[in-house]
Symmetry: C4
Subunit: 402 residues, 4 copies
C-alpha cells in the first residue's frame, strides 16, 4: 500500500483545483471535526501526505482509552485474505456501513484512516443517502478504482411494493440506484438480502448473473441467508450455468457463533462460499459500554434499539455482562482492549474472510484496527481459554461424529 | 404507497418550470376534461397534492351512478400479488390500454387516479401512438421508475411484411419502437402476441431472452397463447437454458371462464406462469350497458364492433343479458355496482395476478377501483351463488377425475 | 406495402432540405441515368411519389424487349416467404449485390423500383465500396428500418493476412466494417463465406453468436458451404448452445440444380436451413445473350470472365445454348421472357426462400420482377416439360429409395 | 502486405496535419535516433513511403555485423501461421515487449520496420507505460485495426493487494487499464499470467469469457502455465460452456526445450492450444554476447540480471558457451548469424505459431527478421546436427512409447 492518501481539507481543495474530478467538499465552519475528542483527529487531518503511517503511531492518544496505547498497528500489519475461495483479496478488517448520524467530515476521516491502515474493503447499502455516498465519490477520485473493494446490498428499500423483495426488477433497479448514488460504474460485490420467500431462486440467481454480465458488479453474495438457501442458490447456479455466490454476510461475535463456526465452514469447504462478518462487538455490548446499565445518551435508548436495552437487562444479558467483565481482564493481561480482543477472536475463524467494523468515531476505528496486532496472540491456548470462559462453543459436525 | 402524486395542470406546470424533465402538456382550453360528467373530475384535478386520498372519498358523487356511493376505497385497500410465481409484485388491478379516442387530459387524469389508488401496473402496446406515449413520459418524470410496472406487447403492427409475426427481427425492432415511443429505457414486461405459427418457438424464446439480456425488458409473457404453446415455450427455454415466460394475458369474465379457471391454474402450478386478465366487463356488456339493446352512440355501433351488436342480439346474447340483470340485483344486495361485482369476482381466482381495467373516464375508473372493497365479500357462498346463476362453471381436471 | 417511396432527384433534394438525415446525392450532369436505354428510366425518375405503382405498369416499354410487355406485375403480386424455417419474412425476389460499375444514380433507381415492387430483401457484401454504401444510407433514411432486410457477407476481403478466412477477429471486424460502410447499426443477416478450412467450426459459430448477441446482426447464414459443413455448424451450435444458421446462399439455375434441389431440401426438413439463391440466369447465359457467341462488349470478354467464354464455346456450352433456344420458344408460348421463365422456375422449388436478382439496369430489373406473374403458371406439367427439356433432373434421395 | 507504412518523422508530421488522429510525436532534437549505430537507421527513416521494401534490402549494412549481409529478407518471405488451431493468422515472427529503456523514436522505428517486413503480431503487457503505449496509438492511427494483432497480459501488476493474482476483478480491471493505456477498444489476445494459485480456475475462465463477450478481447491465452493448468482451464471451459484458451506463451530456445517440444505439442493435438514463444536468444546468450564474459555495460550487470551473470559463470553456463561457439561456426557455414539460426531453429517446431523477438535496436530487428530466409534450410539433417551438438533433445512421449 504505497498509495499516499489523505483527504484533508487542504488536499481536497487542491485536488479540486487540479480538476481531478471536479468535486469539492464544503469546508467545515471551524475547521475541526465533530465531537469533543476530534482534536487528535483534526490534528491528524492536517498532516501532509508524507509518511502518514509513521504519524499514525505517534499521534496523541485520546483520553479515556487506557488500552489504546500502541494499539494502532503499522500499515504493514494488515492481513489480506481471499473472499471465500474466490480470487478476490480483501483486508481482513473492512469498514462497515457508516451511520448517517455521522458528520460528513467524520465519515471522511474514518475512510481516510481505514484506507491508510490497509483497509481495502468498504461496505455500503442500497439506500445509502446522497451525503454519505459523496464520500465514496471522494474515495474513487482519490484512488485507483482497482485498489479497493466496494460492496452494496439489495434489500427492503423503497416504499413502493415493487421496491421490496428480490425480484429481478428490484435487484437490477436497486443496484442501479446504488451505483448512481455512489457514482460508481460497478461495485465489486453485491449482496442479496433475504427477506422475500416469494421470489423464486432461479429469478434471483439469473438477476445476479445478469448484473455481473452487464458489468455492474464483479461478484455476488448473500446476507442473512440460511445455509440451505445458499446451497439452493449454488445448486440453481449449477443447474442453469449461472454464477454462484461467493460470500455470506453474517453476524458474528462471542454470543452468536453457530452459523459462522459450524454452518458456514461446511459451505466454505463444499462450495467455496466465505464469510464476511459484522457486529463483532455485538452493538457495543462487548466493549463493556453497557456494563453498568444502559446510559441515556447511548443508542440503546433510541427507539428501535429498545431490544438492546431489554437484552442487557434480561437474565441472559446479565450473564453476558459478567463474561464481558472477565474478558476485559483477559484483554488487560494481553495488553489490549476488550474490543481488540473480540475482533481478533473473530479473525481466528477459518472461514472468516473479513470482519466489518462498525465505528462512529476515529478513536474507535483506530482502536479496532489495533486488533491486527493481536492475531498472532490468538494461540490455541488463548482461544481455548476464551471458549471455556464463554461456555458456548458450538459442536462442529466433524467433532460430533467423532 | 406514500408517494404523493397528482398530475394536475398546476402541478405539471411547476414541475416543468423546475425543469425536472423539460416536458409540458398544453393546458386544455376550458380547463375541463372531456365528457359531460367531467365536472367532478375537473374538480378532482384542481386539488393540490396534499392528502389527495382523503379527498378521493369525499368528492361529489357523479350523477347516474347510484351504486357508486362509497365505492371508492382508500389507497390502503389495494392488494398486491406476485405476477405468477415471479418475484414481481403488481397491484391486483392494473390500468389497461388507454384508447386513442380519449383526450390527453382524460388519459392523464386516469393515470393519476389509478396511481394514487395504489395501481402500479400500466399496460401499453407496441403501436402506442405518440400522443398517448407522452403520458407515460409524464409518468416516469413524476415517479421513481422502480415504483411502477409498464408492460408492452409485440403484435401484428406495421404494414411491412417484416413487421408481422414473431420473428426475432420483429420482436427486437417492435420492442425498440415501443421503448422509443414510451421514452423508456426498458419495460418491465413484454408480451408476445401469438399470431404467427410460422415463427419457430426457439426463435421467439431466444429473442425474448435477448431483449431481457440486453436490458430492454425485465420479464416476458405471452398473450392469447394456448396452454400447449406456453408449455412449448417453457420447454424450449429449459432445453436451451433460456428465460421462460412468467405470465399469460387472457380474456376473462363471467362468460369466458375455461382458460383462466381450468387451463392456466394448471400451468401456474406446473411452471409458475400467472394470469393477467383483461375485459372483466366483457366490453361493457356486464355493466348492463346493452340491457335495453345497443344504443346508437355506443361503440357497438361503430364499424368493428358490429360483432358486439350481433352478439347482444343473438339468442345466447339475450340469455346473457338476463343473467346480467340478475347479477345487478345481487350487486344491489351487496351494496356495489355490477361492474364492481364482476371485477371482484375475477380477482377471486387463484391464478389471477392482476385484472386490467379498460376504462374511458374517471368515473368508470373510480367505480372499478371500488371493487377492491368487495374482495373480502367474495365468500364461498357468494361465489357459489354466482356460479349457479351463470350456470357455466367449468369442470376443473381435478374435479373431473373425482 | 403502402409506404410510398421514390428516390427521384427532386425527392432526395427536398428530403435533404428537410434535414431528414443530412444526406444528398449529387445530381447527375444531364439528369439522365447511365446507358442508352435509360430514357425510360429517366422518365420513371421524374414522376412524383404519387401512385408510382400505377405508373410502373403503364410506362413506355423499352425497345428491344419484345417479351416485356405487361411483364411488370403490380406490387400486390409480390410473394413473401419465411427464410428457411425462421420467422423472418422476405420477398421471394431479392435485389442482389449491385455492381460497382453501375452509376450511383442507376443503383438508386434499381433500389427504388425494387422496393416499390415489394422487394424487401437487399443483399450486400463486406467490401461494399463507400459509393455504393451511400445508397443504403439513402434507403434507411427513407424507410422504416423494420420494413426491409439487409444482408451482408464476410469473406476474403482485405489484403492483410488477418482479414482473410473466418477467424473470430475477421468475422467481427469484417461485420463491423460493413456496418460502418452501410451506416447501419445492424444487418438482418450475415453470411459466412467458406474459404478457410483452417478456422475451427466452434470459433465460427461462437463468433456468429457473438455478433448476434451484440445486436450487430439478427440471423446468420452460410454461403457456398457444403451440406456437411452446414450440418457441422448446426451440430456445434447445438453442442455449445449457440445460435444455428438459418440460411444457405447458393447458386441455382437450369444448369446447376443438385445442391438446391436435393441437398438443401434435406437440410431444410431436418434443421430448418433455407435457400437464398443467386445467379438465376447463369450470368446471363439463359437470357440468350450468348446464343450467337460472346460479343466483344459483354463481360464474357473481360479478364476474369474468360471462363464464361470458354464455357459458352465448350461442347457442354453448345448443348446448353440449344436448350436455351428451346426454353425461349416455351417462354414465348407462355407469354413471357426467357429470364422470367427461368426465375419463376427457380421460385417453384420448395426450399427456395428467395431468388436474388443480379441486374445492371432498370429494364432488366422490371423484366425480372415480371417473373412473379409466372409463378401460378408453374404447373406440374410445365415443370415436367422443362425437366424433360433440360434432361438433368437430379434424383432426390426419396425417389431413389422408391 | 501491400499497406505502405513508414512512421518517419516527416510522415507523422504530415499525418498529424491531416488530422488523421490528432496525434503528433515531438521531433527528436537532433533528428537522429538513440545509440551510435543509429546512423543506418536514421537513414532508413528518411526514405519516403515509396517502395520501402526494395530499400530494405539495399540499405547500407551497419558496421560490426559481418553476418548480416543479405540477411534481411523481402517482405514476401514472411510466413503466417494459425495461432494454435484457432482461425487467427499471425506472422511467424512477432515483435515482443519493447523495453522502456528504448527511446520513443527507436521504439517507433522498430515497429515500422517490423510491420513493413510483414510482422502483424505485437506483444504488450498490462503495465505498459504511457510513453510506450503512445506508439501503439500511432500504430492504430496509421493502420487498419484489422490488419494487425495486439496482445496484452494480465499479471502481477499494481501495488494494491487487489491488483495481484487472477481474480475476476483484476482480470477485468487490468485489461481495462491496458486498453486505456493502449488507446484501443480491444486487444486481439489477452494472456493470463499464472502467479496466483488462489484464484479458482472457474473464476479465471469466466472472467476471460466475460472480457471476450464484452468485446474487450478476441481470444485469450495463458502464459507460463503448466500443461496441467492449461488442461484444467480447457476442462472448466467445457464444463460451463465457456471459451477455452487458444495459446500458451512460453520461453523457448536451445537450452529450454521440454515444454515447447514435448508438452505443448500434445496440448496442441488434443485441444488446439498453440505456442507463442519468447526469448529465442536466451537473453542474448546465444548471440555470443557473453562468450568472453559479461561486459560491464550489458544488462547482465544491472541489478535483477545478476542471475544471468551467475548463469554465464556457472559450469553449466560454460558448457553452453562452448556449444554456442560451435553453433556460430554452423551459422557461418549456412551464411547466417547465430541469432538467425537460433530463431529459424525455433520456427521449425510444429506447435510454434510465432516467435516473439526481443530487440533493442533496428539492426538487431533486421538481423532477426533475416531468420525467415533460413526456414527452408532447416532440413532434417541440419536439425539433427543441431540436436546432436546440443545433446539435450527431449524424448517425446510418442518416441518413448516406441
Amino acid at each position: 500500500m504505497q498509495v499516499s492518501f489523505a483527504c484533508t481539507e487542504h488536499n481536497l481543495k487542491s485536488r479540486s483545483e487540479d480538476r481531478l474530478c471536479g468535486l469539492r467538499t464544503a469546508p467545515p465552519p471551524g475547521g475541526g471535526g465533530g465531537g469533543s475528542n476530534q482534536g487528535g483527529n483534526g490534528n491528524y487531518n492536517t498532516h501532509g501526505s508524507a509518511k502518514p503511517r509513521e504519524q499514525l503511531g505517534s499521534r496523541p492518544v485520546p483520553q479515556g482509552h487506557a488500552h489504546m496505547k500502541e494499539a494502532i498497528g503499522r500499515h504493514s500489519s494488515m492481513k489480506y485474505r481471499n473472499l471465500g475461495k474466490s480470487g478476490l483479496r480483501v483486508s481482513c478488517l473492512g469498514l462497515g456501513y457508516l451511520s448517517l448520524s455521522l458528520s460528513p467530515q467524520m465519515a471522511e476521516n474514518l475512510m481516510t484512516i481505514a484506507y491508510e491502515a490497509g483497509v481495502n474493503l468498504f461496505d455500503t447499502a442500497e439506500v445509502y443517502a446522497s451525503g454519505r455516498s459523496a464520500l465514496y465519490t471522494i474515495l474513487h477520485c482519490s484512488l485507483l478504482r482497482s485498489s479497493y473493494v466496494v460492496t452494496t446490498k439489495i434489500y427492503w428499500g423503497g416504499q413502493a411494493e415493487t421496491e421490496r423483495g428480490l425480484s429481478r426488477k428490484h435487484i437490477i433497479e436497486g443496484l442501479r440506484g446504488s451505483l448512481s448514488r455512489l457514482q460508481l460504474d460497478y461495485v465489486d460485490m453485491v449482496f442479496a438480502n433475504r427477506n422475500d420467500v416469494n421470489s423464486p431462486m432461479e429469478e434471483i440467481v439469473r438477476a445476479m448473473t445478469f448484473v455481473i454480465n452487464q458489468g455492474m458488479a464483479m461478484y455476488w453474495g448473500t446476507s442473512r441467508w440460511s445455509p440451505m438457501e445458499i446451497m439452493e442458490a449454488y445448486s440453481v447456479a449449477r443447474q442453469f450455468n449461472l454464477i454462484p455466490p461467493v460470500c455470506e454476510q453474517a453476524e458474528y461475535h462471542y454470543f452468536k457463533r453457530d452459523k459462522v463456526e459450524v454452518q458456514l465452514p461446511e459451505l466454505y469447504h463444499k462450495i467455496g462460499v466465505g464469510a464476511m462478518t459484522w457486529s463483532p462487538l455485538a452493538c457495543g455490548l462487548i466493549t463493556g459500554k453497557y456494563n453498568e446499565g444502559v446510559p441515556d445518551i447511548s443508542r440503546a435508548n433510541i427507539k428501535g434499539y429498545q431490544w438492546l436495552k431489554e437484552r442487557v437487562n434480561s437474565e441472559e444479558g446479565r450473564k453476558q455482562l459478567a463474561k464481558i467483565k472477565e474478558l476485559r481482564l483477559m484483554a488487560d493481561r494481553l495488553g489490549c482492549t476488550s474490543a481488540q480482543l473480540a475482533i481478533a477472536w473473530c479473525l481466528r475463524s477459518e472461514g472468516v474472510s473479513s470482519v466489518l467494523l462498525g465505528v462512529s468515531n476515529t478513536d474507535q476505528l483506530m482502536e479496532n484496527l489495533g486488533a491486527l496486532r493481536l492475531i498472532s496472540q490468538m494461540t490455541p491456548q488463548t482461544v481455548a481459554e476464551i471458549d471455556s470462559l464463554l461456555g458456548n462453543k458450538p459442536h462442529s459436525k466433524k467433532e460430533s461424529r467423532a
